[in-house]
Point group: C2
Chain length 251, copies 2
């Protein structure tokens, strides 16, 4: 009888064409499905909480699959981690209730966008942060982020060509932090995200930080519902999916 | 007329066969020499403070070169950084006094060895730390490190086949630290290092941390002057050359 499993997955997206299986190009989904097929000797379909773009990382992507197996969750996790390349790690493998769906059951997600705001780029860790040379005004970025919190139409922050019913999302938390090493992080939690939404928010907050856009302009930018008015999209490699939220976790 | 320049270099050693130029394989030295040749239109020899092994990283490798150029140091740095791949960054380029030699003038070096001591490996940042699953006793490692400080014969910590006059070195500082995320760092400063010395020290301290070797055995291990008695060498990718010390820096 089929059993359903929930996986929590960390990956370094550098060498992948994103999450989603595709005819040409190595993807996270396909790589894990191949390992699952080797373990279970069945064709297994893995369903993620959502796609991540090429080059985007994850600390806590969630996916589910169903298959007819007697292998224990711990053994599945161990086996997968031994089969998978070292840029993908299964952080947890749990039995899931019947009908659990990684995408439909998700109540929200938290992403982190990382900027390295230093006079010189870094060689070590360059894969995980967008380098911006000019000193960012993080207080202005914080003020701009505050305007994004709440239920808004985020059409100005959506990439073209994404299938969705509407462009209204609820950002419950948006926070800009800066450490003493010049690492600026932008954490955004929402009930859902449009295509490139966090990267577009990061690009806009960076423009605010550079003094190219006053933070008070954010409400007008939201109202305009026009992507062409907002600053350019931030690069993929600064983005990391931190956590997918489900109701059993109290949200 | 020839001028001498001092470079401070950061690199991610993951995709290199180490520092030293070699007939087969991409090296840091060769990559920078190629960029220097493009900028100066001369064959330039770059002399490092010492070699680093394949896979070893550096935040502060130092090297010098001499050539007949009128290019200003700042322009050299900028030009090199635009020509070099993004896993090598020239952090500083300064005019050096006549006769400056990156290796002979170095008074010491600081290396850091990083261990990720967590139940699961990491995908993100896996290139920069040795993963050890079993919980390390960092207090025992600290006690073991203390036995290494001072002037000792480090033959038990030297890889075979290295050219050197003798195996006595002076470790002025050795420190083990552990953060709340399970990242254990071993910082070692000495007047010089034997081949694989830090990796052999890291391997030995890890054995102490795992309870396989009592810290009180370190003095006997030093006295034995026998590499075969000490635990295995730690992998290269956990090692980073942090700083090369010169007299103008007060040491």
């Amino acid at each position: 009888m089929d059993r359903t499993f929930k996986l929590v997955i960390e990956y370094d997206g550098t060498d992948y064409c994103g999450w989603q299986r595709q005819p040409n190009g190595r993807t996270i989904q396909q790589t894990i499905e191949d390992a699952l097929a080797r373990m279970t000797r069945q064709a297994v379909v893995l369903t993620g909480s959502g796609r991540t773009d090429a080059g985007v990382h994850a600390l806590g992507q969630v996916a589910h699959f169903s298959c007819d197996t007697t292998i224990a969750p711990e053994a599945l996790q161990k086996g997968l981690n031994s089969l998978l390349p070292d840029d993908i790690v299964i952080r947890a493998c749990q039995p899931a209730p019947i009908g659990f769906h990684a995408r439909f059951d998700a109540h929200g997600k938290t992403y982190r966008y990382t900027i390295r705001n230093t006079p010189l780029p870094a060689a070590i860790g360059r894969q995980y942060a967008w380098w911006i040379r000019s000193l960012l005004d993080t207080a202005a970025m914080t003020a701009a982020a505050a305007h994004l919190v709440g239920r808004h139409d985020f059409k100005s922050f959506e990439a073209a060509g994404s299938p969705r019913a509407h462009t209204i999302r609820h950002i419950s938390h948006a926070e800009v932090r800066c450490d003493t090493q010049g690492i600026v992080t932008i954490d955004v939690t929402a009930d859902g995200f449009l295509r490139h939404m966090v990267r577009n928010i990061a690009g806009t907050l960076a423009a605010v930080g550079r003094g190219k856009l006053p933070s008070e302009q954010i409400p007008a930018l939201l109202d305009a519902r026009d992507r062409t008015l907002a600053p350019p999209t931030a690069p993929a490699h600064g983005l990391c999916l931190i956590k997918v939220l489900y109701s059993e976790e109290g949200k």
